[in-house]
Amino acid sequence: MSKHKTNRLKTTKLIGPMVDKHWADLRTAKKRGEMVAWCSGPMFIFPYAMGMKCHFMAGYAAYAGGRGAADDLLKIAESEGDMLDTCSYHKAHMGMAMAIKKGIPVREDVILPMPDLLITGRLCTEMSHYAEGLYRRMDINVVGIDTPPPVNESLIPNLEKYCEDQVRGSLIPRVEEICGKSFDYDRLIEIMAILKETCILRNECWEYFKKIPSPWTLWDYGVSIAPVFYMMGSPDAVPYYTQLRDELAERAEKGIGAIEPEKYRVYWDGWLPWGFLGQFSRKMTDLGIVPLVGRYPWEFFPHPETIDLNGDPIKEFVKQVYSNGGLAKQNLPNMSLPSIQKWVEEYSLDGLIMFSSKSCRMWNLGHPDFIKAIEKKHNIPGVVIEGDMVDSRMNSFGQIDTRLEALAEMMAARKK
């Protein structure tokens, strides 16, 4: 019997119906004569501004994983030739596409209409495979937007310009051609305004991670991530985050923790284990471990206050990917280590969990280096946990349990 309990937030219970509606609308879009875009990066804001229904790669994989459908999709992709350790997000899509093409039965709620346009944000090499695979097998229109991670700050102006040129020179003309009308800059600004307001509210919520005990966990933020990303511009986004902020304020005022009693406060690096949040959550709650902050969830528009709604909207959006943001910057260890070190103090962290996805090399870069550097400076322990975002075969909970328990033992030894 655990000595610790979870206090679920009321507000996060609202997210399920919102997300379900989003995917249901997408599934039926073609029947209503609407066009559909699939995107693997933040650039879906551009087709979205043109009224296209937009799908976001990681969001879909997380959705399919959360519904227990990922294993079937991955199996189909592998039977069509994708390798076991290829990005599981990519494979979930290939599996879905091949299920449609060959009539292989899978759950209906994870079948999406084939897109009129695929925008691949090439942050890693897997994204090129993703685009190539879908283009070759499904003959889909593809626009690739390179968003290379900067090795250092001095490269950012050039990369920003490169990204902006791709949006102006190839993405927008292509979207205009497919939609048969001029690009709707007013709608783009409108979406950015909602995004800005939502992310400012989100940042107010994020501040509550600093409270001891913390009134919410990183998992709570994980399930709340859709309105600040793939549902950006949704009319539900601002009311959702307003209610969430108010509930967190009330909890903080009353000293109610998300996990009680709160024993250890930890940083979580890498992807969230979307398909297995419940299993991780139960184990960590049993040990009194509260996951609080992480660079992946933080990468979504961390500085919304810098969005100038009177400026050039394309420039303003690209800045959120580079100079004013985290989307491309957070992926390289040297760019993100200073943030993590700062968070150790700001959020009173006791330990670090590096979630090392077996099918995503990019987010695993630097894990041992992070642990070494932070252990040296802050004297807190860290552990690498192998797994996957949605592929159950990559998660061995016997081994995960041992690593989490060992982390708790090391944190206990250092706290004394």
């Binding site: 642990i371 252990e375 192998e386 990559m394 081994q399 041992t402 033992e409 090391m410 030894a413």
Partner: protein
């Protein structure tokens, strides 16, 4: 009436179950090492009863029991559980107080642990999910060579030529061994190649944790002289090996049991 208090540590590993009983001065009263089999609960009871019989004690004489190892949750009579990472660290540091780094190659995993002067784990690295670099890997390789683990070590001493064997996957490595046989490679060279393959994997983990002298090796694999030598060569450090390396996890668990009882 016996007023002496006794404490037990029980380490249910994937291949072997180990039990150590100590008295209140941390003297080892008795220990056992038995094969785990498929039913951890049965293995725990058998190993415990066996050790109690050796010590001339009954279950009622044991004041506190800690279980560890992969089967730690399947020991119904344990008072609490502690991971094998903390237990191996504590056991090795008790036997060799100057030790700060411990390499443990167990049946299912291999790990490198850094401990503080009290023997508490402060850092560790473990192998990933593949069995390459573990005791199980060594067993599979020994079967392929048609020798037992003791013979494999003696065999490796006769090696004259270096042979490379993959350390990425147990199944691939087994296929490689069969191919090497087909090519007429000497058994002795293959045996040493297997040790070097494991040493390469463990050296990577060792680098992640960082060398802090002195370094001990625990776990059943440490009984293999050939393995210890291959590892020493690879990490360029002399390894301290306890007389009975396989029981270090259970010993550490017993020591923690004594400590927990005192705190209760």
């Amino acid at each position: 009436m016996n007023n002496i208090k006794y404490f037990a540590g029980i380490d249910i590993g994937s291949l072997f179950s180990k039990v150590v009983i100590i008295d209140e001065k941390s003297n080892i009263k008795a220990y056992s090492v038995l094969q785990s089999g498929a039913v951890y609960k049965g293995a725990a009871e058998t190993a415990m009863n066996n050790t109690l019989a050796k010590a001339g004690l009954s279950m009622g004489d044991i004041s506190y029991i800690i279980s560890t190892g992969y089967g730690r949750a399947r020991v119904p009579f344990a008072d609490s559980q502690v991971t094998e990472i903390s237990c191996h660290g504590r056991g090795a540091n008790f036997v060799f107080p100057e030790v700060r780094t411990i390499i443990d190659i167990g049946g299912q995993d291999s790990k490198v642990i850094e401990v503080n002067k009290e023997g508490k784990a402060v850092k560790f690295a473990m192998n990933d999910k593949c069995a390459a670099g573990t005791g199980r890997f060594l067993e599979v390789m020994a079967v392929s060579l048609g020798v037992d683990l003791g013979e494999m070590s003696t065999l490796a001493e006769k090696s004259k030529t270096d042979v490379e064997i993959s350390s990425m996957c147990t199944v691939f490595a087994e296929s490689e061994v069969i191919s090497l046989f087909a090519q007429g490679t000497e058994k002795a060279d293959i045996a040493l190649g297997v040790y070097r393959s494991i040493a390469r994997r463990v050296t990577g983990l060792f680098g992640q944790v960082g060398k802090k002298e002195k370094v001990a090796m625990t776990g059943g694999v440490a009984k293999s002289k050939g393995m210890v030598e291959a590892l020493e060569k690879s990490i360029k450090t002399t390894l301290m090996v306890p007389e009975e390396p396989q029981i270090m996890g259970a010993l550490g668990a017993a020591l923690i049991a004594r400590e927990k009882f005192a705190q209760a």
